[in-house]
């Protein structure tokens, strides 16, 4: 695990043996590319209103048609990916960092602290996520930052629990005990031994968490509780489409496809990564 080159080669050879994982990887790469290149690829400004051409079907000028304000749906879908990308990047990395910290604290700290933290994790998880999100939005008003905050809070326990379990398991291992006996500090043990050992499961968890995070953002934006108009998000495109469902099916078709592609791509890719790096996790899943 020390040589990054070996790591990439290992992943690649594992992916080549798993067609579904490879398909997921390709799908994820395509979507990432399209999203990052959105400003150059989008044929129109996603906010450009054209009332003379409302709710039109696909044409040479507008490949996916236009919405109720005559905005180009293809451009909105491409830019919508940037919202999804931003939310998942920010939410997952912050949740992972805090989860890592709290999980290691629970795993290595005194017993009472472990108890308190575990009850805390369970409390947060005891709210059904969507209800929790709605309740928070009811209090603070709709905004993308609220969505990110909710996802962070509800995801922390997921990461923290994995880190805690792994840290506790490592704590009893001989090589850690030996380091301890030689007088290594807790910080050193965490940095040199615990961190490298939990990095792989953590990243696999993150890649499998992307569909849930993207789905959550889209879901809240669909309910009108996420991004504020006129910003395009896959969820808000679906929301617009839902309101004008009987006039044109295209906004719904176009807003749904990237969501399905992202969730499938990351799930297949994540499952494949898990099988490559941690066959043990697979048996636990059963």
């Amino acid at each position: 695990m020390s040589k990054p080159r070996g790591l990439i080669a290992h992943t690649w050879s594992g992916l080549k043996k798993d067609p579904l994982g490879m398909a997921g990887f390709v799908l994820v790469s395509i979507i990432l590319l399209l999203t990052i290149l959105a400003p150059w690829l989008a044929p129109y400004d996603p906010l450009d209103v054209n009332v003379h051409n409302r709710l039109s079907g696909p044409s040479a000028a507008h490949w996916l048609g236009t919405d109720q304000l005559g905005r180009d749906i293809l451009s909105r879908v491409l830019y919508g990916g940037q919202v999804a990308l931003k939310v998942s990047l920010v939410a997952i990395s912050v949740a992972m960092a805090i989860g890592l910290l709290l999980g290691m604290l629970a795993g290595l700290g005194p017993r009472w602290l472990d108890r308190v933290l575990v009850i805390g994790f369970d409390t947060v998880r005891s709210f059904p996520t969507i209800m929790f999100a709605l309740a928070i939005v009811a209090l603070t008003g709709p905004s993308l930052n609220t969505v990110i905050g909710v996802i962070i809070i509800t995801s922390i326990p997921v990461y923290a629990r994995v880190v805690r379990t792994q840290t506790r398991a490592l704590r009893q291992r001989d090589f850690i005990l030996a380091e301890r006996a030689m007088g290594a500090s807790t910080g050193r043990i965490l940095r040199d031994h615990v961190l490298p050992n939990i990095a792989a499961p953590l990243f696999i968890l993150a890649s499998m968490d992307v569909p849930a995070v993207v789905g959550m953002e889209a879901g809240l934006s669909f309910l009108g509780l996420g991004v504020s108009p006129p910003t395009p998000s896959w969820g808000s495109i679906l929301n617009d489409g839902y309101s004008y469902l009987r006039n044109s099916p295209w906004p719904i078709i176009a807003g749904g496809i990237p969501l399905i592609a992202v969730t499938l791509g990351f799930t297949f890719f994540g499952e494949s990564l898990r099988d490559i790096f941690d066959p043990k996790l697979r048996s636990k899943d059963k």
Binding site: D114, A135, G219, F222, L225, I260, K286
Partner: protein
């Protein structure tokens, strides 16, 4: 065993208590006073004062929280400030719609998922097995509201096979069932694959066991061995998952209810959020969270009854 149940039950109560208090605290931390938020900018100071007094908002937070729990113990969740109706009555009116939807969804998912998982285990690595494996992962991943929207678009609006809105005429069972189909599919689709996976995994485990070998050695027909001996045991872990599923689905039903304009707890909460109707928000969150915690508790206990090893592990906080 009893000790485990009591300890696990107390922990659930503690978690529920923390969750509700947290929720209550957050409502009162909201910037601006709730009376202004709920009554709107045109309310006079007298109206606001009267409103605050009626909801008990002029008391300190601890007193309000105490009153809330005292009310809760009597089964009283307060009043809807807009209609003056009791929150419990409103929640009870909506709950059956959601419960029926959830039960139909999970029932349908089991009817499909159990045979699928069973066949996959018996015909391991067959085309059906591999197809089920891919589909189950796929269906779990796709957000349910996207499924709901596509179903609405094609089966209700375009082909008109199913109604697009509402829960059907009251008293007309056939009509209500007709209205249930699409929301139930949207809610249950992801569970088909989940259940199939569970059944497959536990079937594979059970099929290796001695009593199955004995049954076969006695020359019982393969069908009898599978249905009467293997599946019956393999079903146990699946049943606990189903229990937990009901709790999760109660909140997941929200999207199906909104897309198909069905009454229910999810829709109630959503509308309360939009109008900042805090007592209703509090009531519906409490009911769904309560169901969620209880169903997790129930499936933990059933699991522990089935598997003493798990009981040990959970008792030590793993």
């Amino acid at each position: 065993m009893l000790r485990f149940i009591v300890r696990r039950g107390l922990l659930s109560l503690l978690i529920l208590f923390l969750a509700v208090s947290l929720m209550f605290g957050m409502i009162h931390m909201v910037p601006g006073d709730p009376a202004t938020v709920m009554l709107g900018p045109k309310a006079t100071p007298e109206m606001k004062a009267e409103f605050s007094r009626r909801l008990g908002l002029d008391q300190p937070l601890a007193v309000q929280l105490g009153r809330f729990y005292a009310g809760l113990a009597r089964g009283d969740l307060g009043e809807d400030p807009f209609t003056n109706r009791e929150v419990t009555v409103i929640v009870w009116e909506q709950l059956p719609y959601t419960l029926v939807l959830v039960l139909v969804a999970i029932g349908g998912a089991s009817l499909l998922g159990i045979p699928l998982g069973c066949f996959s285990a018996i015909r391991r690595n067959s085309l059906l097995d591999r197809l089920t494996a891919v589909m189950s992962v796929a269906f779990i991943a796709i957000p349910s509201f996207v499924v709901a929207l596509y179903l609405l678009l094609w089966l209700a609006v375009k082909w008109r096979w199913f109604p697009a809105m509402g829960a059907g005429e009251s008293g007309n069972l056939a009509d209500q069932a007709h209205h249930l189909v699409l929301p139930a599919i949207a809610l249950g689709l992801g569970w088909v694959g989940y259940i199939a996976r569970m059944v497959r995994a536990s079937m594979l485990e059970v099929m290796e066991e001695n009593h199955i070998r004995t049954a076969r050695a006695f020359g019982l027909p393969e069908r009898t061995v599978i249905v009467h001996y293997a599946l019956r045991i393999a079903m146990l872990p699946t049943v606990t998952i189903l229990g937990m599923g009901i709790g999760t689905m109660l909140s997941g039903a929200l999207f199906a209810e909104i897309v198909f304009s069905r009454p229910g707890i999810g829709k109630l909460l959503y509308e309360a959020v939009l109008t900042r109707n805090y007592p209703i928000v509090m009531g519906s969150v409490l009911v769904t969270t309560g169901f969620f915690v209880l169903s997790t508790l129930a499936s933990d206990i059933i699991n522990a009854m089935l598997d003493p090893r798990l009981r040990e592990r959970q008792g030590s906080g793993e």
